[in-house]
């Protein structure tokens, strides 16, 4: 059940199937799904010619992420692999930035002429009621950034080139509401991120690169902006002028429609089975003096890969429940991401988990 997706769920299932490790109903489901696609069932016939160790050996020699003797045990390995890859990318990025642009120690403030906060007073009254008079340049030190994100302490690396945690909040200029799921990328760099459901994002970058950020969201105008180290509000506005086709910047924008079609994220196994999973796999925290039915509310984002991220518990009876709820969601079945205009995109989910004490 909790076969947490490494990057190749089908392969894991296949190996478990060949090793006779699947229970009858899952075995059937695997066979039934294979029946729908000749690629699947003909490949399966091919594997039947070999023994399991032979298959594992061959798949490994193809430099695949083939789980070793026991399927489902490779999650940790995959995680370490991921960490390694991320580390390598970070290193390459660092080296590139250092070699391309020598650090300029004197200039530590990028010119912020592209930021044009529209109607900032309105926005502030909504997000930072405590500081109604603060100007946009020095406002929102902490309260408007993501509560679940630890503050990034700027660190010094490689010849006093500062790595700065650039933070910002993307707000829709029309609705004055923070916008989740906005793709934030850095000009001339492969770095990118996506805003959280409170519209915030943060990116750690070398200060000497003077990063220019680009915010993209389906149906909104692309916006380029600079950031200081403090969190700033960036307003983006809905698109109204038809852009020439050659400027349409890839994927998410191609099927742009006036009213975006939106499908909310949903568990890949269906809501009913997901709820069954939640109730069956939950461990009621031990040592609770008066065990009773408890409810916990949890919000999170579903990445386009189906991975839940940025989990945030909004209502909880206690720390133990919070931890268990987070474990359940992270270990649980994959989600299907939101579909906007036919393209997968990041979407947010609010989930209520009911804990029932075991007797």
């Amino acid at each position: 059940m909790a076969d947490k997706a490494t990057n190749n769920e089908h392969l894991e299932n296949l190996l478990a199937y060949l090793a006779n490790k699947l229970p009858s109903d899952e075995r059937y489901r695997f066979e039934r799904e294979s029946e729908c696609d000749p690629f699947d069932y003909e490949a399966l016939d091919g594997f039947k010619q070999l023994s399991l160790p032979e298959i594992q050996k061959d798949l490994r020699s193809l430099k695949l992420n083939a789980p070793s003797p026991l399927p489902f045990k490779s999650i940790k390995m995959a995680m370490w692999g991921l960490v390694g890859v991320v580390a390598v990318f970070a290193l390459v990025f660092l080296i590139r930035t250092i070699s391309n642009r020598p650090p300029k120690l004197t200039d530590n403030k990028p010119v912020s002429n592209t930021i044009s906060p529209v109607d900032s007073s309105l926005f502030k009254s909504e997000l930072t009621p405590e500081e109604p008079n603060s100007g946009i340049q020095n406002s929102q030190p902490d309260e408007a950034t993501t509560p679940e994100e630890p503050q990034q302490v700027p660190t010094t690396v490689a010849g006093s080139d500062q790595i700065i945690s650039y933070r910002g909040i993307i707000v829709n200029v029309e609705t004055k509401r923070p916008m989740p799921g906005v793709e934030i990328s850095v000009k001339n760099s492969s770095r990118q991120t996506v805003t959280g459901y409170d519209g915030s994002f943060s990116l750690d970058l070398a200060e000497s690169t003077h990063p220019v950020f680009i915010a993209r969201f389906d149906g909104m105008e692309e916006k380029q902006f600079l950031l200081k180290e403090k969190a700033e509000t960036i307003y983006i506005s809905p698109e109204n002028i038809e852009k020439p086709a050659d400027q349409v910047p890839m994927s998410v924008r191609t099927n742009r429609a006036a009213n975006p079609e939106f499908t909310a994220p949903a568990p890949s196994v269906g809501m009913a089975r997901y709820e069954e999973y939640l109730s069956r796999n939950q461990k009621y925290p031990e040592g609770i003096s008066n065990p009773k039915v408890e409810e916990i509310h949890i919000n999170f984002l579903v990445k386009t890969t189906g991975q839940p991220i940025k989990l945030q518990v909004t209502k909880t009876p206690g720390q133990a429940f919070t931890q268990e709820a987070i474990r359940l969601v992270l270990d649980g079945p994959k989600w299907n991401p939101a579909i906007v205009n036919g393209n997968p995109s990041v979407g947010d989910v609010s989930l209520k988990i009911t804990f029932v004490p075991r007797r």
Partner: protein, 199 residues
């Protein structure tokens, strides 16, 4: 129990996005990562027809090379289907080169053209959520063994291994029998449905 068609559609879209990302940035790592999702299928398919581990392994490399060329030339819309067609075609020419033959590949050229035109058409049994009387009638006309396989697989939802004892055979035979039955059923179901719409 119904296979999730939506999930497949979703996978296809993810693949399309990745292919676009590759075409935009030219980053081979993106393509490699994408290919790794299907590489075991490519390997299994090649193994099925070439019946040789080393040849199957090298075809995995060759198909990837073909993919890098093709992905630059055209925007591949359905990567899984593309890999299926390309791998099978490759096996077909390899076997021809060596003067060998595989009965299963005899009709491949025709199949390939059909796949290119229409994509994978699911068998009525895989497509239907419940069996219509017309399909029922067709199943009843099958020979006993084939009827058993179809009924136990599609109605009682049992895996091959559990059906095997009923026809006194092994799993592979169950699968073959099922496929033989499904092929027969296509014609029968088309006829029956045609008759119904005539009336």
């Amino acid at each position: 129990m119904k296979p999730t068609v939506k999930q497949h559609e979703f996978d296809r879209q993810l693949d399309r996005l990745e292919i676009r990302a590759f075409r935009r940035d030219g980053d081979l790592a993106v393509l490699e990562n994408l290919y790794s999702k299907y590489v075991h299928l490519v390997y299994g398919l090649a193994l099925n027809y070439l019946r040789n581990r080393e040849k199957a392994k090298s075809s995995v490399q060759i198909i990837f090379e073909k993919l890098t060329v093709e992905a630059v030339k055209t925007e591949i819309q359905n990567l899984k289907l593309w890999l299926y067609i390309t791998t099978k075609s490759y096996c077909y020419t390899e076997l021809q080169k060596e003067g060998e033959s595989d009965l299963r590949l005899d009709s491949w050229e025709a199949e390939r053209l059909q796949l290119l035109e229409k994509g994978i058409e699911q068998h009525p049994l895989d497509r239907m959520s419940r069996l219509t009387p017309a399909v029922r009638k067709c199943i009843d006309q099958l020979p006993q063994n084939e009827k058993t396989c179809v009924e136990w697989f599609y109605l009682k939802e049992k895996p091959f291994a559990e059906i095997a004892p009923f026809i006194q055979a092994d799993e592979a035979t169950v699968k073959q029998t099922l496929h033989a039955a499904k092929t027969k059923l296509i014609t029968c179901i088309e006829l029956e449905h045609g008759r119904q719409s005539d009336e």
